[in-house]
């Protein structure tokens, strides 16, 4: 038990630098990770699917996929994992850290880019660097999926309109025969720049060492 603890503490120290969490936060998240994985080393999609609270979430599958997406690991790989370890779990979670009073403007910029990148990866499911119309339609469909009997038409119309808007704001002078292939990362950033992602896309990570052991299993 003792040896295991010192080893995990050592790992945790590495992770502090990599992800920016504090040691207490990492310990809390580790506890949660072990809860989810049933005390194993890795978790798979099934583990995440079995979180009951997620059942009501319309974009459940996208969220789960995001954990297994290699692009969210700050590396340059594409594709997805089958199972992930604690480090990967933490890396994904680090996208949701809030800025502090001490974060400088450049750091905030980087943070914002990271978060927008995360969202982009969630939409761009085939990894080609563009969100095509089909992918965007899927996004809107999923978003409306739990809202009752929404016809496909409605979702498509909304996605089309949104896509049109992106195209118009970013490439205003297209000829009638040009084809707008998809939303690139820059365009995506452009349309979301008013939303101030760095302040919005975060959750509160617990500092105090009291994990809510909600055995939601």
């Amino acid at each position: 038990m003792g040896a295991k603890q010192t080893r995990s503490e050592h790992d945790h120290q590495d992770l502090v630098e990599k992800t920016g969490f504090s040691v207490e936060q990492i310990q809390n998240l580790h506890k949660r990770f072990q809860q989810l994985s049933g005390n194993e080393e890795t978790i798979s999609r099934e583990h995440l699917k079995s979180v009951p609270a997620l059942a009501n979430n319309p974009i459940r599958m996208q969220i789960i996929e995001a954990f297994f997406d290699k692009r969210n690991q700050h590396g340059n790989e594409l594709g997805s994992y089958e199972t992930i370890g604690f480090e990967e779990f933490l890396m994904v979670m680090s996208h949701f850290r809030p800025p502090t009073l001490r974060t400088t403007t450049e750091e905030k910029e980087t943070m914002r880019k990271e978060k927008v990148r995360f969202l982009f990866n969630m939409h761009d499911t085939d990894g080609d660097g563009k969100i095509t119309l089909a992918e965007y339609r899927k996004v809107v469909e999923e978003l409306l999926s739990k809202s009752g009997t929404i016809e496909q038409e409605a979702a498509r119309a909304i996605a089309d309109a949104a896509m049109l808007e992106v195209a118009s704001t970013n490439v205003p002078n297209m000829g009638p025969d040009d084809f707008y292939e998809g939303i690139t990362f820059e365009h995506f950033e452009q349309i979301l720049k008013d939303l101030e992602m760095e302040s919005r896309m975060h959750i509160r990570f617990l500092h105090v060492n009291t994990t809510k052991v909600h055995c939601g299993k």
């Binding site: 119309l133 089909a134 016809e151 009638p176 084809f179 939303l195 959750i203």
Partner: protein, 702 residues
């Protein structure tokens, strides 16, 4: 007298634009009030007490608060609720005790020559400590600072009413009694909770009642706004009757009923409510400031230099220390921290106003200190409104405080806001801790499942927020487009040549194509509305066309004029085409006729609105409409408008060129343009418009 004053102030203010840049409206109004009061005093011996507290609290204040509550931006308010409450409750308490206590200490000094007991001092402190919503609204409206600061100061000014009410009544009673025990203090705290929560509860109950009533008003559209006003006012009166916080009741009522009422009522009622609220609150605000000016001149105060200056200084100091201290504590819990600049604006925005005055006025006439208090209160009000009100604008510029962003909510932002909500809720669930988002999500689901079904009539109850937003946007854009004169460009929102075909992937399988490219079926009521707007717009354009005709074509049909006319017609066609293009969005199939979504779009003119637009295109080839005709597959797959030559002309249909044709025919016999097929609409998109040949047309020879 009242009317004169109002008239004077509006004329003066709006005719001298430079003045309005420097001096906030509230200042000017007070000055007008002073003038009026002065005039009256000259005319007769004593000025009638116009700012009667009864009048103020029962008639002048509610409209302003209702306007604020009904249009309260719920999202930022809820997100910052903790901070707002801290400022409102703790901040006001701090202010009251600081000012009251130090004034009492001042009175102890024999040189001051004042002899005021502790409790009266505290009473005074509680009156003067509350930030005033009317003054804040009046000043902040003109400086356009960012949403966060606005909601913080404004929210604080609204929620501190509960504190003020409790403190005021407590100290007033205690002043009579003369002493206070710990038990009394404890009871005071309890009564605060009762007053605040009770007020909110009363407001919420009335809000739900109003929402429920609006569910059944589909047959009595005209009186819908009345329900909103009546229920809100009843909420206010009920709360005041039980000595609960009327302001909080009003806010709660407005905020609670709004989403449901708006889903139920017609578009016209919605507009009515909006404009009535704005009108009433505007009038009230003006009157309040003017009366403040008159009341100043009226007399009934005793000026005491020491007391007054001490009050002003102490108020400022208390505010600064209070805001600073509280922010330090609050920032420990906030994610988006408040910077020093923010703190400064919050402190500086702590304006006092007419509520303080009225509370002072309410004091028992036999209360000896009343007149000194009133003098001090008025001075503080004047100071904050004039000095702080006037200088806050340049200070905002100087400090480069973030300004309000243009609220041009795009569909992408809406999609991603919702997406983010779900994403963050999901992450919280995975993390296992029940935070902010989790509870918000639960509330939303509860709302959707039970409350909406109960309070919203018909189909609308199931409409998800995204769709509702989308409908609203379509409407707005369509109307905007037409009202912009139908110029050759779409309104500035989309100054681009991108159209649907640019984003449709070329290699899509054939079947979806026809339905995509050919004009989709417009929801009928929306068509109707657009058509009506087109028609009215057309009237205006028609006049322009006529001026061309009269002067040029009649006398000498020279080539330029001819071409100009063709150009105008082409513009009409462009307009029509753009409308159709716009309505590419409107591919949402119409829910059945009875839905309030469509009803709202319907211009409630009592006309039969389920006619079939015979002359217009029909996109849905699956339509079983007997009057529909088949669309020939377009040659280059852009929308084609064809008019069935044989079908009878329905009285409601509008064919763009038809109207022009008819108009010309009426006015200028025999001089009419009929764009022959092939000449007119052949712009690059290959659109063709055919006019019903039963019109009397003749083509002047060229």
């Amino acid at each position: 007298m009242k009317h004169l004053a109002l008239l004077k102030s509006y004329l003066g203010f709006h005719l001298i634009p430079r003045l309005s840049n420097i001096v906030p409206e509230s200042c000017l109004l007070i000055v007008v009030g002073l003038l009026v009061g002065g005039l009256i005093k000259l005319a007769r011996e004593n000025v009638p007490p116009v700012l009667d507290s009864q009048l103020f609290f029962l008639c002048l204040l509610p409209p302003i608060i209702l306007d604020a509550g009904y249009f309260l931006p719920i999202r930022p308010f809820m997100e910052n609720l903790g901070t707002i409450l801290m400022f409102a409750v703790v901040g006001t308490l701090w202010n009251a005790f600081f000012v009251g206590g130090l004034l009492f200490a001042l009175c102890q000094i024999p040189q001051a020559g004042l002899d005021i007991g502790l409790l009266p001092c505290l009473l005074f402190g509680s009156i003067i400590s509350a930030v005033d919503p009317v003054a804040v609204l009046a000043v902040f409206e003109e400086i356009h600072i960012n949403e966060l600061l606005h909601i913080l100061v404004f929210g604080e000014s609204l929620l501190n009413d509960a504190v003020t009410v409790v403190l005021y009544h407590l100290f007033e009673e205690f002043s009579e009694v003369g002493s206070v025990t710990v038990l009394d203090g404890f009871l005071g705290v309890i009564s605060f909770f009762i007053v605040a929560l009770g007020g909110v509860l009363v407001g919420a109950i009335y809000g739900f009642l109003a929402a429920f009533t609006s569910r059944f008003t589909s047959h009595t559209r005209v009186i819908e706004p009345l329900f909103v006003f009546v229920y809100s006012y009843m909420a206010y009166l009920s709360a005041e009757m039980f000595h609960l916080s009327g302001i909080m009741a009003l806010i709660a009522c407005g905020a609670v009923m709004r989403p449901y009422v708006e889903a139920n009522i017609s578009h016209k009622s919605h507009t009515t409510i909006k404009y009535f609220l704005k009108m009433w609150s505007s009038v009230s605000e003006t009157l309040i400031f003017i009366f403040l000016g008159v009341a100043t001149v009226e007399g009934h105060h005793r000026w005491n230099w020491i007391f007054v200056t001490a009050t002003v200084i102490l108020c400022l100091v208390a505010r600064v220390i209070g805001v600073g201290g509280l922010t330090y504590v609050i920032n420990k819990f906030r994610i988006v921290k408040l910077t020093t600049k923010d703190q400064f604006i919050i402190a500086y925005g702590g304006l006092r106003g007419a509520i303080a005055f009225s509370l002072g006025f309410l004091l028992n006439k036999s209360f000896e200190m009343r007149e000194i208090f009133l003098a001090a209160i008025i001075t503080v009000i004047f100071f904050t409104v004039f000095v702080q009100g006037m200088t806050i604008k340049p200070l905002v510029e100087l400090l480069a405080v973030k300004k309000k962003q243009e609220a041009k909510r795009s569909i992408n932002e809406e999609i991603h806001t919702q997406f983010l909500d779900h994403l963050l809720t999901g992450i919280e669930d995975i993390c296992g801790h029940y935070g902010h988002h989790h509870w918000k999500d639960k509330l939303n689901r509860f709302n959707k499942k039970y409350v909406k079904k109960f309070l919203i009539a018909g189909e609308r109850s199931k409409e998800p927020q995204l769709i509702a937003f989308y409908h609203k946007m379509e409407m707005k854009q369509a109307i905007q487009l037409v009202e912009s004169g139908g110029g050759s460009k779409l309104p500035s929102a989309m100054p681009s040549t991108v159209s649907m075909q640019n984003i449709q992937p070329k290699h899509q399988p054939a079947p979806p194509k026809p339905t995509e490219r050919v004009l989709p079926q417009l929801p009928k009521s929306r068509e109707e509305e657009i058509r009506k707007i087109l028609r009215t717009n057309l009237q205006r354009t028609r006049q322009r066309l006529h001026s061309y005709n009269r002067h040029t074509l009649v006398v000498d049909p020279d080539e330029n004029a001819f071409k100009d006319l063709i150009l105008k017609k082409q513009k009409m066609i462009e307009l029509d085409r753009k409308i159709k293009e716009m309505t590419m969005y409107l591919t949402v199939p119409a829910p059945h006729q009875g839905s309030p979504t469509m009803s709202r779009a319907r211009l409630a003119s009592g006309r039969n609105t389920d006619f079939i637009p015979a002359q217009q295109q029909k996109g849905n080839t699956k339509s079983s409409d007997p009057q529909a005709y088949n669309i020939k597959p377009a040659s280059d797959a852009m929308p084609v408008i064809q008019v069935d030559l044989a079908s009878p002309q329905s009285p409601d249909s509008v064919n763009l060129l038809d109207e022009i044709g008819k108009a010309d025919q009426e006015e200028e016999q025999g001089l009419m343009m009929k764009p022959p097929p092939g000449l007119s609409g052949s712009d690059k998109h290959g659109e063709r418009i055919v006019v019903n040949p039963t019109d009397n047309v003749s083509v002047p020879s060229e």
